[in-house]
Amino acid sequence: MQLKILTVDDSRAVRIIVKKAFKTYNVEILEAANGVEGLAMASKQLPDLILLDVTMPVMDGVEMLTKLKADPSLKSVPVIMLTAEAGREMVLKIAKLGIRDYIVKPFKEDVLNEKVGRIIDLRPITETQNKRKTLSDPCEILVVEDKPAIIQQITTGIRVPTWKVHGVASTGETIDYCQKQVPDVIIISLSLPDEAAYTLFRLLRSNMKTKYVPVFALAVKTDLHAQQQAQQFGFTSIITKPIDYEELETKIAKAINLDTSERYFVFEGEYLLIRLPENASTSSVNEISAYLKPKISEAVDQGYTKVIFDVHVVRNVNMVLIKLLVDSMTICQELTLSYSLVGNPQIVQECRGFEESKDWRFHDSIDAAKASF
């Protein structure tokens, strides 16, 4: 998936400069003109990084940063402050709020690229223009962990059949492995002795072969200090134990820019089937949202006229799911596509509890939905 950078600056000129600086990289630049717009955009789009101005009208950067850090779903988004205010007091104030870096205006574009590149995997467009890998393509995951039981757990926990997990126990073994074969993703346990995880991370980043390989940190859920330290070091993402494998798979897919649309969008006979997952979390709904327009457009291009939303495995209905379905139905209506819904009695009951979905009609099965057109 394409990385997203949100630039929050009241100056359109600065936003234009930011866009210009990243035009040769495979990133999408999102824009907001103040803290209020920035928070709304961040909640909606979950960017991979935020470039935040300090002095802005309506809501300034410091207030936005404070609110961002208080929001559980946004607090881990790395923030780089862009400011003309380089006074010691201001820098100390924003550093305490948990920024990853700051850039003093005026700034050169390459300084911006370099600082952003230390936090997210910036890749030139040419590298990503090739056909995107899908879930059917092989993916090599290297786990660096000195406890064989954890490696075993990850091996069995990952459900994508084409993904292979290989385990190593030390820095030396990791370097040897990467010399022979560069993995698609590396997961390093932060509990390796003598802070070896951080030394290894530095080694991997200084080697041209592994410089752009996404590196995840594996930490105990309650060890917030280790997680914060890993984040500051620039690990691509943090995985916490006990591991949520659905989350791990989503993070890996995102990190390696995998096209996961086949998980949710299936062209079957004369129907486009949109399958909602068991756990309709914000991240999975965002993942589906990113594919929604292109997939429905693709269906129209290929002459499909009927869409089935299959919600029957969803465990709980929530507002993000309702919003996704409302947006999807609106797109279908705009493109004059017919659609129907498949759900179970619990889903039907829960949907009645929301104003937007109280009148929706569900079918018991895919076959019943097909017959309804």
Binding site: R12, A13, K105, P106
Partner: protein, 175 residues
């Protein structure tokens, strides 16, 4: 406690000139040359109007408040503002000329960066202050006058053969 004396005008001149040159070199990859400084009682503080120019002007203004208080106006011909906006955004001059909002934004940002750096220098000397949001004006035959209590120093620059003037109004510590 030892009282810190406010920096002399020569020091302020060094800070302002360095700030302007740094902004132009970094954001535009272009040079701006400092020509001269004039005090309140000296000639040359009306570089455009008094020379009979009726070309439209663009003026960026930004204040700083705290233990040092003042305001700086940066004057330039509209055509110069177009050149700066084009260089900074990577757009064509004709493109920015048709969209004055971008020109206004760039002049505001140049003012913000230059005076932001200048203010940081003053803060480092022990006079804490912060900058206000920039304002940009457009018009012709205009100038800003000051109250007698404010110090006024005017700095002339040359940017690709065209004048850019910074007008600094300064009120020392208001404690």
């Amino acid at each position: 406690m030892e009282e810190i004396s406010f920096p002399k005008v020569e020091v302020l001149e060094g800070l302002l000139v360095q700030s302007m040159q740094n902004v132009f070199a970094t954001m535009l990859s272009k040079k701006i040359v400092f020509k001269a400084r004039y005090g309140r009682d000296k000639a040359g503080i009306k570089p455009f109007y008094s020379l009979g120019s009726k070309d439209p002007l663009v003026v960026g203004s930004i204040g700083f408040v705290g233990e040092a208080n003042g305001v700086v106006y940066i004057y330039m011909h509209q055509d110069v503002a177009f050149l700066i906006a084009a260089a900074m955004t990577g757009m064509e001059v004709a493109e920015v000329a048709s969209e004055f909002d971008i020109v206004k934004d760039v002049v505001g940002e140049v003012s913000n960066m230059a005076i932001g750096s200048f203010k940081n220098g003053i803060c480092d000397m022990g006079f804490n202050c912060r900058v206000t949001l920039p304002t940009v004006l457009r018009g012709s035959q205009m100038e800003v006058d000051s109250v007698q209590s404010a110090k006024r120093e005017t700095f002339h620059f040359d940017f690709e053969g065209q004048p850019i003037v910074m007008d600094l109004f300064l009120q020392e510590t208001l404690n």
